[in-house]
Symmetry: C2
């Protein structure tokens, strides 16, 4: 993995977007992950701690170690944790491919929105496996931008989303990784792999998702790569702007927006 | 609606496909629809009765009237019902746009895999609404071919699926209608519209879906329009064959297949 490269960047607006996203999606993605008191949990790739807060609150008795490669992100995550008065998280700087832990250190591993950014996600999963105690579990959550569809249908909007996929690919990532969790975990030697798709379905009867997901999470994320798309000439400005407008259009009263996350669990 | 035109045709293999589909998807799509004993239920567009059987079995005390435009389909549906010893279904030939019923005739209306074939689905929903008693409900189930994604990703397979969408469009239908149920029902004046997406997620740990859905339902459906695709020259034979092979490829042990149905309920 190229160090410190992250398709969405590290701007304050991006930090805000990640927190909006985490709040909107908490129930859908995280609320069925609860670790027992006293269990050792590794969060591999905690970023700015958007998920760390949820993880720690849902499992207040667990002892969580949150690892990230970026010192800057860790600083941000640490601040977030302190602000919330959370005390069961320890931060550790390190590379997911050169893990600074002894084999069998953890009861559970939690990996959320990380594999999509790695060139060799299967290899990362293989590296993580020995860190689990016998019978320990891994939980992986990823999105899949190719699962996106909406009404009204719009070709420019589709192309804009594809640009994001393309940029993430250029950086060695895979924005379509959600659908691959089953073969990735199976291929890395995990047992009892179970994948649960979690669709975010948004229509006008779900206003908090219209704001919190369609606009503030997804469309803001696509919009955020606009400068890079322009720089690389992936789409001309007019078509790009029409695409972004068409994505916002799906948040109107007769619009619909669908996106699917995948949550996988497996045993060592 | 052009009469008696149906994108998938009326062959025996198609009948078999529809029954395979109905069995595999029963739990996912139908098991939460139960009508009280004595209630009057209209199934608008019953086709060959694949859903009629499920509907009648799940609501054995309801009085079901199943309407279809095709006499041939009705004959087939009637036979199916008799074979199963079901006695709470009455068949009626008729057009969904010239409904042969008095206003307020029904407590509930059930419309499954029908709107996708209509040029004016919103108009059909408007026509159906007066048939409901006050407070009566409508339930609509539709697929959405644009919700399809799979692993391994394959451009030819995508194009093959798009051909099916295109053919259905040529015949006045809309294979992407699932995502539109909320605006369609709201626009037709229904209240309390609630849409529930139902994703069929298939990986190697779910063998009955690998066979029953990925292969026998979805890929067989796409394959079935091959002759028409060839006739119209929408795709050359080699690319088409590669596309179909790539769809079957998603049924291999490391493959994944996703498709989403939408189930909507609303009140008059």
């Amino acid at each position: 993995m190229p160090e410190n490269r992250y398709v969405h960047g590290y701007s304050p607006r991006e930090s805000e977007r990640l927190s909006d996203q985490a709040e909107t999606l908490t129930a859908l993605l995280h609320n069925d992950t609860r670790y027992p008191a006293g269990s050792q949990v590794l969060e591999a790739g905690c970023g700015i701690g958007a998920q760390t807060v949820i993880l720690a609150k849902n499992s207040p008795g667990a002892l969580i170690t949150s690892l990230d490669i970026s010192e800057e992100s860790l600083k941000c995550a640490g601040e977030k944790i302190r602000q919330q008065g959370i005390t069961n998280v320890t931060f550790r700087q390190g590379d997911i491919f050169r893990l600074p832990f002894a084999p069998g250190s953890f009861d559970h591993i939690y990996v959320c929105f990380v594999l999509e950014h790695l060139t060799e996600p299967g290899c990362a999963l293989e590296q993580l496996r020995p860190l689990l105690k016998e019978g320990g579990t891994i939980t992986v959550i990823e999105g899949d931008h190719g699962s996106t569809f909406f009404h009204p249908e719009n070709e420019d909007a589709r192309r804009a989303v594809k640009c994001l996929v393309q940029l993430q690919q250029q950086m060695g990532g895979n924005a379509l990784i959600g659908r691959e969790l089953f073969p990735l975990l199976s291929g890395a030697g995990y047992q009892d792999v179970h994948v649960s798709p979690r669709m975010v379905y948004v229509d006008a009867s779900r206003q908090s998702l219209v704001e919190g997901f369609t606009k503030l999470t997804f469309t803001a994320m696509v919009e955020g790569v606009g400068p890079e798309v322009a720089k690389q000439g992936l789409m001309d400005a007019d078509t790009w702007n029409r695409g972004i407008a068409a994505l916002y259009r799906t948040a109107e009263p007769d619009g619909v927006f669908c996106y699917t996350f995948f949550k996988a669990t497996a045993r060592k």
